[in-house]
């Protein structure tokens, strides 16, 4: 980050946009006391200040809502909010007072939260509200939201922005970090664009367009490429068929109820739905991570009774999971080792039980080049890469398997504009090649843009199936919320 100036006034709604690694998070971390500036100053209310730690930032009324929530799942809302500054009575935690105080804060800012519920039983959207309440409870006047909608449904996002707007009209300043230009423009009054550690522009929101912002974030390159290049293509034989398939969640609840669907060669099938309606389990089911409890599963017309991840891979199923740190990569291992994962027993990654380090290096380097993975070092520990680049490692590896069925869940979450375009382009290429793609995404725009066909999941059931010609955002929205009877195209 280099020579960036920024001014935030009470009531401001400022958005910060830029690619992965453009310095947005660094800038905000300076503001939140996590990093120290090498040069330059920070002033609050006209007086220069030094922020040595988040504690100093909080004392100045700066609150941050991180992309990954910092909540303790087994504690209640109230306990999480007061964590670190618990009210005590004679040295003992005074839980009643904590609840009363948090309730008061919720009321004051119009949050309808039940303060005695445990975090783990809340939806992602509500958890985020808890994070905001936490910041407000500590007296935050400036609220930093780091990619707040990455995990939210459209409805939840709308509600978040409503709340944020109300806060700003009550005199709070809100800083929004986001990749989604649409929401940036609808929410912010000012937009600051970062590129390669510099602030390249600061424009009033009403005077700019998504195209202009996209062009500014990536520099000379053109903005988000549409995937209009998709040829109308006749899909081939089915690669995946589910017939009245049923399975359970990890804690034993029914996750999928008699789901029947199919994916054919050369088509992208999107799964739309509000988070937690069985998409996760569907992806795990067809990749062999979760057992089938009822119904039938066929891969390439062959019925599979007991699918495990190894068999799934041998049958040509590749998987880009949602939680890559849990399911897809080994953080402490190098990029090249991670690229070999899943095919470590095959050439060019090994021969006769011995690791072929030269073959592995070559393949890793070519994927690093193709996908512009940064830093371009095959030996770097994967955990040192930014989230977007980790995702590129996973996507490049899975596509390199030349799969017959590609299961992708939230493939572009947290990626910048250029990387999103790259991933979308590669998915389209897989489709052209004749691969069947099962796309699960909470970003409805993404599902609409890429899919040939969409199934809507609600409560573990398929509530609708739509062909591309009959895509209708409103209708899908109603199906996602279970507000319309199941209909099939």
């Amino acid at each position: 980050m280099d020579g960036v100036s920024l001014e935030i006034a009470p009531g401001d709604r400022l958005a910060l946009v830029g690619e992965n690694g453009a310095g947005k998070s660094s800038l905000m971390n300076v503001l939140y006391g996590l990093y120290q500036p090498d040069r330059g100053t920070i002033s609050a209310d006209g007086r220069p200040v030094r922020l040595r730690s988040p504690k100093d930032a909080i004392a100045l009324g700066i609150g941050m809502v991180h992309q990954h929530f910092m909540l303790v799942p087994s504690l209640t809302v109230a306990e999480n909010v007061v964590l670190g500054r618990e009210p005590t009575r004679r040295g003992l935690l005074d839980l009643d007072r904590a609840c009363a105080e948090v309730e008061q804060t919720c009321r004051r800012f119009g949050f309808g939260l039940e303060v005695r519920t445990r975090i783990e039983s809340l939806t992602v959207g509500s958890q985020q509200k808890v994070e905001i309440v936490k910041a407000l409870h500590r007296g935050a006047k400036t609220l930093i939201l780091d990619e707040p909608t990455a995990v939210l449904t459209p409805q939840e996002s709308d509600e978040l922005f409503k709340v944020a707007r109300e806060l700003s009209s009550a005199g709070h300043a809100v800083v929004l970090i986001s990749h989604k230009l649409k929401e940036v423009l609808s929410f912010a009054t000012r937009v600051a664009v970062m590129r390669r550690g510099k602030k390249v522009a600061e424009v009033p929101a009403e005077k700019t367009t998504p195209e202009e912002l996209a062009a500014l974030t990536v520099g000379s390159e053109l903005s988000r490429e549409t995937n209009g290049a998709r040829g109308p293509k006749k899909p081939g034989a089915p690669v995946l068929e589910l017939e009245r398939a049923t399975c359970r969640t990890a804690d034993g609840r029914k996750a999928l109820l008699e789901v029947t669907l199919s994916v054919r060669e050369g088509e992208v099938v999107g799964i739309a739905g509000v988070d937690g309606n069985g998409q996760q389990e569907l992806a795990e089911l067809v990749t062999g991570l979760r057992p089938l409890e009822g119904g039938k599963l066929r891969l390439c017309a062959e019925e599979v009774r007991r699918l495990d991840p190894s068999l799934a891979r041998r049958m040509g199923v590749a998987h880009v999971p949602e939680d890559r740190l849990l399911w897809a990569v080994v953080g402490p291992m190098s990029v090249e080792e991670n690229i070999s994962l899943g095919r470590q027993h095959l050439p060019p990654f090994s021969h006769g039980g011995l690791v072929d380090s030269r073959g592995r290096r070559q393949r890793a380097c070519s994927l690093i080049r193709d996908f512009d993975i940064r830093p371009p070092d095959p030996q770097a520990a994967l955990s040192r890469l930014s989230g977007g680049n980790q995702q590129k490692v996973v996507v490049s590896r899975e596509l390199d398997c030349a799969p017959r069925l590609l299961v992708v869940v939230q493939p572009t979450r947290g990626l910048d504009v250029a990387s999103v375009a790259l991933v979308h382009r590669r998915l389209a290429k897989e489709r052209e090649r004749g691969c069947g793609v099962l796309l699960v995404s909470l970003d409805l725009d993404e599902v609409l843009a890429l899919s040939d066909r969409i199934y809507v999941l609600y409560g573990g059931r398929v509530t609708g199936e739509l062909e591309r010609a009959s895509f209708d955002e409103r209708r899908i929205g109603r199906l996602m919320l279970g507000a319309e009877e199941a209909t099939f195209a």
Binding site: G21, S25, D38, G197, P309, A328, M333, H345
Partner: protein, 372 residues
């Protein structure tokens, strides 16, 4: 590559250095004399690495060879138990059971060594193999309990240690395998092993340096190559670091855990064989020395890297062999163990190191720029 190696080893080296300094200071304070501490330390060094000053005075090779033998014997045992703990760690398990697996290996080696009649080179190899199998099977038990019944391996291996002691020392050694009394002399422990089963001495009779040391060194090198160069080693590391990701990529996680625990038990069992075939020449009434537990410290100080474990074992083997010489200066011989314990404590305090390193890095200018 080299830089990464140095940076990886740094916390261990610093920890050992800090432990050495602290103990030095402790001796100096208690004895109220830095001279005593220095003398004691020198005695420890010459006692472990060979008495170089006396050798230069023309005292003969024995003053070098004898300490080498003591140091190498101890180092070999520490290396094998350390590797045992380390390989389990690589698969994500905390094997506290090296002591029990070692006892099983020792009794197997003692039994095979006494009962079989085989030519010289084959006999010890067979005994070591038998010990590895016994230890390996014993290591499979906690793995099976964990994978089938969800019993945490720390609990089960601690209990299995006591079962091993009871089974071997309180039953076999005083019962079915008790040494046949010769005349009216009652002998403790099992029968002496056959001369063919004894590990050959490498430096003649004055030094107890035996071929078992080479077994330990070979084990460390082979384990390193296995972990870093083979597919199974890679898969084992993946299982240890991220079991869910390993499962999702088609690696048989349970298979790798069984395999790693069998290997872990086998290495500890080989340590038992070395003790019997190289030093004791029978299973004594009791295996007093807790080499299996020392293995935990050696593995952690060596950061579970086979070569790091070997280096750590060599260092502490030498310090312990030399430690007995400290008594000449009124310093208790358990100081090497104290040094080992302190070094372990400092390595375990690695989070503190990391924090300090991170702090010094944060003060360095503008390298933080691009991070999403």
């Amino acid at each position: 590559m080299r830089e990464r190696l140095i940076r990886g080893a740094l916390p261990s080296v610093l920890s050992v250095a800090a432990a050495l300094l602290l103990c030095f200071a402790a001796i100096a304070v208690v004895a109220a004399s830095a001279k005593v501490a220095l003398d004691a330390y020198l005695a420890m060094v010459w006692g472990g690495l060979g008495d170089l000053p006396r050798f230069l005075d023309g005292a003969g090779v024995a003053v070098l060879a004898r300490p080498w033998g003591e140091a190498a014997t101890k180092a070999g045992l520490l290396a094998l138990t350390g590797l045992s703990v380390a390989v389990a760690f690589k698969a994500g398990l905390f094997n506290i059971g090296a002591q029990g697996q070692m006892i099983l290996g020792a009794i197997a080696a003692a039994f095979l060594g006494a009962q079989l009649e085989l030519p010289a080179l084959v006999h010890p190899l067979l005994c070591i193999s038998g010990a590895a199998v016994a230890g390996g099977l014993y290591g499979l038990l906690p793995a099976a309990l964990k994978l089938r019944r969800g019993v945490h391996e720390v609990i089960s291996t601690i209990m299995l240690n006591w079962i091993a002691v009871s089974l071997v020392e309180n039953w076999l050694v005083v019962g079915p395998l008790r040494a046949r009394a010769s005349g009216d002399l009652s002998i403790s422990g099992t029968d002496e092993i056959a001369a063919t089963a004894q590990l050959p001495r490498l430096l003649g009779e004055t030094s107890r340096l035996h071929a078992g040391f080479l077994v330990a060194v070979a084990a460390a090198v082979l384990l390193h190559l296995w972990l870093s160069r083979t597919r199974l080693g890679f898969e084992t590391r993946a299982v240890g670091l991220a079991p869910e990701a390993a499962r999702a990529s088609g690696i048989p996680v349970h298979g790798r855990i069984y395999q790693a625990m069998a290997l872990s038990g086998a290495l500890a069992g080989m340590a038992g064989a070395l003790l019997v075939l190289g030093t004791e020449h029978k299973f004594p009434a009791t295996i007093g020395a807790p080499y299996g537990f020392d293995g935990i410290a050696i593995a952690l100080i060596g950061q579970n890297h086979p070569l790091g474990v070997l280096a750590t074992a060599l260092l502490f083997g030498a310090l312990r062999a030399g430690g007995t010489r400290m008594q000449l200066f009124g310093v208790h011989k358990s100081f090497p163990e104290l040094i080992q314990g302190l070094a372990l404590l400092f390595v375990a305090g690695r989070m503190v190191w990391d924090h300090l390193l991170a702090l010094s890095k944060r003060k360095r200018p503008a390298e933080e720029a691009p991070r999403a």
